[in-house]
């Protein structure tokens, strides 16, 4: 598995957003698979297979954390089950000069926005838009129909844009109460 560690870490980092969580996730994967080395030898395309298992592990971990009594989770703007098209939440449909985008859309803010996506949305963004996997490749890799991937991609992109459009100190927070503990923000 050594030759695949860099790739696995890279994907784990994109999924989790921090070095520590990424290292933990890869560690968990290896601990899980180490006793199954004979099975691994029979896998023809090991890298996509490992990526798939890592993805499942990452999703399971994120869900487990969200069930924790103290779990903290942002409201997902444009959550999967929302009836409202996230694009409609964009503040404006007026043409925006690239200079204005540049002012608000920075790497630091994008990193934060990525952290607010669900792990499924973050993964499809990372694999498709950052790593360059085609959606039909991801269909096999993530065992998810292309239609679902397209929907996730559309919503994730809209959510990122909506988050980036906010003024840096704009207080627009809403709280997801679906199975989560509610934050009562003290003014």
């Amino acid at each position: 598995m050594y030759p695949h560690l860099d790739h696995l870490y890279r994907f784990a980092y994109r999924m989790t957003g921090t070095r520590e969580d990424a290292e933990d996730l890869v560690q968990d994967l290896l601990v899980k698979l180490y006793p199954r080395q004979r099975e691994l030898e029979a896998v023809e395309q090991l890298r996509p297979w490992l990526t798939r298992v890592l993805y499942r592990l990452g999703v399971d971990r994120a869900r487990s954390q969200s069930r924790n009594p103290l779990a903290l989770r942002q409201d997902a703007v444009g959550a999967e089950d929302s009836d409202v098209d996230p694009l409609e939440r964009l503040p404006s449909h007026e043409p925006e000069p690239s200079a204005a985008l540049e002012r608000h859309w920075t790497q630091a803010r994008l990193l934060e926005a990525m952290q607010q996506l669900s792990v499924e949305h973050r993964s499809v963004i990372a694999l498709h838009m950052v790593e360059g996997y085609a959606l039909n490749e991801l269909e096999d890799l993530l065992q998810t129909p292309v239609g679902t991937l397209k929907s996730r991609l559309h919503r994730a992109r809209a959510q990122l844009k909506a988050l980036l459009q906010r003024e840096p100190n704009q207080d627009h927070q809403r709280v997801n109460t679906r199975g989560q503990r509610k934050w009562n923000v003290v003014k």
Binding site: D24, L30, N68, L70, L111, G132, R157, W183
Partner: protein
């Protein structure tokens, strides 16, 4: 072609994966539609920004360590942080049976954790409870230069929760702005009892991301 149709093809257009004659039809629409032209501009900018996101490399010795621990069947243990390790991971042990009476003294020892400036990091707080506790109030006081991701400019957050017997973990996504950091104070209240812990957050500016991305 309608805007809604064009919208479904913008991703393929940017990935150069749109065949003819669809590509020409999409481009023709965009040429005459400000709304779709704006969507294309935003999506292109977003894609470029995403592709330029930095990747923090694993910690030194990660490859050897992870394989060694896997062969021994060990999961990585989250360390109790000491000193100024860059790992933005912290575990605070709180034994709720030892809660302070109202007006209890502030914490004596303060642990420290460092965050890279402008880059999200996770700080984990673990609360160990001897039994189930209902309606516990947890309040976080953050240094002025540190925010919970998604809660810009808010330095006091409080919420009520139930604690289960055993370990209850809170993974706190933090981001440090410019500044020196300061104390993060976590306070648990249950009835008349109260327990308070403090963590020093140091901000490491050396690996800070640029505040502007060159587009």
């Amino acid at each position: 072609m309608e805007c809604s149709q064009v919208n479904t093809h913008i991703d393929e257009l940017l990935a150069d994966a749109l065949g003819e004659p669809l590509r020409s039809a999409v481009l023709l629409h965009i040429e005459h539609c400000d709304h779709c032209a704006q969507t294309l501009r935003q999506d292109r900018t977003l894609r470029e920004l995403l592709q330029g996101l930095p990747l923090v490399p694993p910690s030194p010795g990660f490859h050897a360590r992870v394989l060694r621990q896997a062969s021994a069947g060990q999961r990585r243990s989250r360390p109790w942080l000491t000193g100024l390790a860059l790992a933005a991971t912290l575990v605070l042990g709180v034994v709720l049976g030892w809660m302070l009476a109202p007006g209890g003294k502030p914490p004596v020892s303060v642990q420290a954790v460092a965050l890279l400036a402008q880059q999200p990091g996770s700080v984990r707080l673990a609360f160990e409870s001897g039994h189930d506790l209902r309606d516990v109030k947890l309040t976080l006081h953050l240094p002025t230069s540190v925010e919970v991701v998604g809660y810009p400019g808010q330095h006091e957050l409080t919420w009520r929760t139930d604690l289960q017997r055993g370990r209850n973990e809170l993974s706190l996504p933090l981001v440090a702005r410019d500044g020196e950091g300061g104390l993060l104070v976590a306070q648990l209240e249950h009835g008349a009892q109260r327990k308070q812990f403090a963590v020093r957050i140091d901000v490491d500016q050396t690996g800070a991301l640029p505040s502007k991305n060159p587009i």
